[in-house]
């Protein structure tokens, strides 16, 4: 693929020569960057799908082509013209900004070049142009993947002229996305260090992953297709929305309607991106390069606030309440801290937490259909059981995720220390996950349930808590026991996820049945609760006493 991209760049050789660019060196840099793009692991997609030797870029582009099919379907459907266009342009701006902020951050914020290319005989102008060409090629690839099929659909349904105007508005959308991204980085760089910027980007990626995980479940359920009428009412805020400007511009050409509203929209569609791009290249881009070049120097490094000696965090405060042995405490505190700082864990685990709310929306509130009717009869049902057991259904995933880590090799420490019972580390680690992720969600569920069902659900939440904990321990027990953060994150090793999901369904199902039995026979409440607590205690003992020969490596 890079060959034809480079051939495309060759068409502009006359321009580069005129600018005094060292062509052989520029092409060497661009070609190498394209090879590296092909091999880079893309963050928006599960790393498991990207093996060591696969062409990651091609896989990701194929995914974007796949997503664009949905937009094409929307264009082909009976939606009003303006609605289709707004959907299309909003999709382009959003997806492009997302690609730039998440995956392309590693390219834009890459300071490795400073060490590798700067000592070589490459002049600044050539290096700058090579970077620009690389970014433009990257944008071209992604824009083509995202818009090629929708543009063809527009051409077939609304005519060639409309498709050509849409191509222009797509270009304007890309400019807007580039500007938004640079501005995002500049703001982040202005107020913090490179590390902080990377943290901010990590959080942005996590939010996006959560958004995608739940978005496709919710959005389709929220859209009532019957409600989309043929007319679109312009509000004052419509003038602030770029997809509206772009859609009106395309509509003006499509309907040959150049009234004052359409002309103003065309003006905004063209002038705002051009103006913003001019500000970007004239004022922001050079500052960005300067800020970036001053990063990554040892003298800029400031100690993180958490390294202030003597300051203890939540992990230290809570561990004495839940663990008795020093080894268990170590497992608890280590897991608490690493899960707060490990990007990969958050990217995998947080979306599964978000699913709690999706499932509640689907199962308790009837997926948004007849919400009022569902709400009116809710307090007469046993649906609070979803609030009790859904959190465990997702939090239990943490038992698997917590065993993986990029720095898995650091787990040598477990093997080199005189640990007799590594099970204590594992139990401490599981408890940390439970307290950190399960308890807050469970408490929130409790408050919502009290609001809906009243205080009579308190007993059920007490019983449910014991039941959930038993469920958690059984799931952990049935899985192979690995030490926390000791496994290499690869697709092959994560194959156990499906099995865990199956076991979760069965075990949580059994627990719900047990709970229903207690609801029907309240006299059993204390007997079953006592039995559950005893089994929990026995399981805890068993796990804490696990010896080395029971631990998987």
């Amino acid at each position: 693929m890079e060959n034809w991209l480079l051939k495309l760049v060759h068409l502009f050789d006359f321009f580069f020569k005129k600018q005094g660019i060292d062509l052989p060196r520029m092409y060497t840099i661009v070609q190498t960057k394209l090879v590296m793009d092909k091999r880079r692991v893309f963050l928006n997609w599960r790393q498991g799908a990207q093996s060591e030797n696969s062409n990651h870029l091609r896989i990701v582009l194929a995914m974007y082509v796949f997503i664009s099919l949905f937009i094409s379907v929307a264009i082909y459907s009976e939606f009003p013209f303006l609605f289709s266009m707004m959907l299309f342009h909003a999709y382009v701006i959003f997806m492009m900004a997302m690609v730039l902020i998440t995956d392309f951050s590693s390219v834009v914020l890459d300071t490795t070049d400073n060490q590798i290319i700067l000592p070589k005989p490459v002049d600044g102008k050539t290096l700058f142009m090579a970077r620009q060409v690389h970014i433009l090629l990257y944008l071209l690839l992604f824009t083509t993947a995202m818009t090629f099929i929708p543009l063809i659909s527009i051409g077939i349904k609304f005519g060639l002229l409309t498709a050509l105007v849409s191509l222009v508005t797509v270009f304007l959308c890309v400019l807007l996305a580039v500007f938004a991204t640079y501005y995002f980085y500049l703001l982040a760089l202005r107020f913090s260090s490179e590390k902080r910027v990377k943290d901010i980007i990590t959080w942005f990626q996590i939010v996006l992953t959560v958004f995608f995980a739940i978005g496709y479940q919710l959005i389709l359920r929220f859209i009532d297709l019957d409600d989309i009428s043929g007319s679109f009412e312009l509000s004052w805020y419509s003038w602030l929305l770029p997809p509206v400007w772009m859609s009106y511009t395309v509509e003006a050409v499509h309907l040959l309607n150049f009234d004052s509203i359409h002309l103003l929209m065309i003006l905004l569609a063209f002038c705002v991106p051009v103006l913003l791009y001019w500000v970007l290249t004239k004022y922001l881009s050079p500052r960005f390069a300067t800020t970036l070049s001053s990063l990554n120097t040892e003298h800029n490094a400031k100690p993180p606030s958490s390294s202030i000696p003597g300051r203890s965090g939540w992990a230290e405060k809570l561990s004495p309440f839940f663990t008795r042995e020093p080894i268990g405490k170590a497992g608890f505190e280590n897991t608490w801290k690493i899960t707060s700082r490990d990007k990969s864990f958050k990217l995998h685990f947080y979306p599964s937490l978000a699913y709690i709310f999706v499932f509640i929306f689907i199962f308790v509130f009837n997926a948004g259909k007849d919400v009022e009717a569902s709400w009116n009869i809710l307090s007469t049902t046993n649906k609070f059981l979803w609030f009790i057991y859904l959190p465990m259904f997702t939090v239990a995933n943490g038992i698997l995720f917590v065993t993986f880590n990029e720095n898995f090799a650091a787990s040598w420490i477990y093997h080199s220390t005189p640990l007799k019972k590594p099970g204590q580390i594992i139990l401490g680690s599981w408890l940390a996950l439970l307290i950190k992720y399960f308890f807050p969600v469970y408490f929130l569920m409790f408050l919502i349930s009290v609001y809906i069902w009243g205080w009579q659900v308190a007993d059920d939440f007490v019983f449910g808590l014991a039941n959930d904990y038993l469920c958690y321990l059984i799931l952990g027990y049935l899985n192979k026991q690995y030490l926390p953060f000791s496994r290499q994150p690869s697709s092959r090793q994560q194959a156990g996820r499906f099995l865990l999901a199956l076991m979760q369904m069965v075990i949580v199902g059994v627990m719900v049945l047990l709970h229903l039995l207690v609801i029907k026979q309240p006299s059993l409440f204390y007997i079953v609760l006592a039995a559950i607590l005893i089994i929990c205690w026995l399981l805890e003992k068993y796990i804490a006493n696990l010896s080395w020969n029971k631990i998987s490596v």
Binding site: R25, V35, T112, Q115, H299
Partner: protein, 256 residues
């Protein structure tokens, strides 16, 4: 024509001076051992001399040319081997060497021939087509050494070049450095490993807090007092003579 000349070289980061006026002249090919405690300004000096850092105060002349005016020509004639094995890990050694060779303007067949030969000498030929993200630090360091030397530079800047190398590779690199010196190259060698600096350097420069505090041959530095090894001289000059007291206190804490 001077090989290297630094006149009142200063550099500040956010108002704090990490180099406070370095003066230095190197007129003939030799191995310069450039040592100092962490944060003394060693890497900053090398980054200025190799054109990575462009903003500084004072005057720097490399191979008779002002680095501000002739950075590209200077870069063509120098080599730089950084400390922390910074390279594009997703590339294979051959791809990476091809990339850097082209940036130095070498012909394709020369790059290919030299890459294979040098990788073979470093026992990396069987890994020439493997991506470097699975390489050990020592293997990466070997690739970096090749990439910094392949264009046969006149001055070579080395920032901890032995970092991560195994014992055999260390011996080999030391021998290569000695041969480079014999062939008329200048080596600007920054390291923490004192005994290597002591053995291979013709001249030793010690910096501390951004200033040169000693400059001369090992013998001349030793003659300033009865200090024995370079390590002792370094300790005495950089004011870190309390090592023994610190070590004793360390043991006391362990025992407590």
């Amino acid at each position: 024509m001077g090989i290297l000349q630094l006149e009142n070289l200063k550099k500040n980061y956010g108002g704090t001076y990490v180099l406070k006026g370095i003066n230095l002249t190197i007129d003939e090919p030799q191995i310069i051992g450039y040592i100092g405690p962490n944060g003394a300004g060693k890497s900053t000096t090398i980054k200025i001399l190799t054109g990575i850092i462009e903003e500084f105060e004072g005057k720097v002349t490399v191979l008779g040319m002002d680095i501000r005016k002739n950075a590209i020509e200077i870069k063509r004639r120098i080599g730089y081997i950084p400390e922390n094995a910074a390279l594009y890990e997703v590339l294979t050694p051959l791809e990476y060497l091809s990339f850097t060779g082209r940036l130095y303007g070498l012909e394709e067949d020369v790059i290919k021939k030299k890459s294979w030969e040098l990788l073979r000498l470093f026992e990396l030929a069987d890994k020439a087509d493997m991506r470097m993200n699975g390489f050990s630090k020592g293997m990466r360091q070997k690739v970096l050494l090749i990439s910094g030397l392949m264009h046969n530079p006149e001055i070579i800047f080395l920032d901890e070049p032995l970092s991560g190398l195994d014992a055999n590779a260390v011996i080999l690199v030391k021998e290569i450095l000695a041969q480079l010196k014999l062939s008329g190259k200048t080596l600007f060698y920054s390291s923490h490993i004192m005994d290597v600096v002591e053995k291979i350097s013709d001249r030793i420069i010690i910096i501390s807090n951004g200033e040169v505090i000693a400059d001369g041959t090992f013998e001349s530095l030793r003659s300033t007092g009865d200090k024995g090894s370079l390590e002792n001289i370094f300790t005495a000059l950089t004011g870190d003579e309390q090592h023994q007291t610190t070590a004793e206190a360390f043991i006391d804490v362990l025992k407590s």
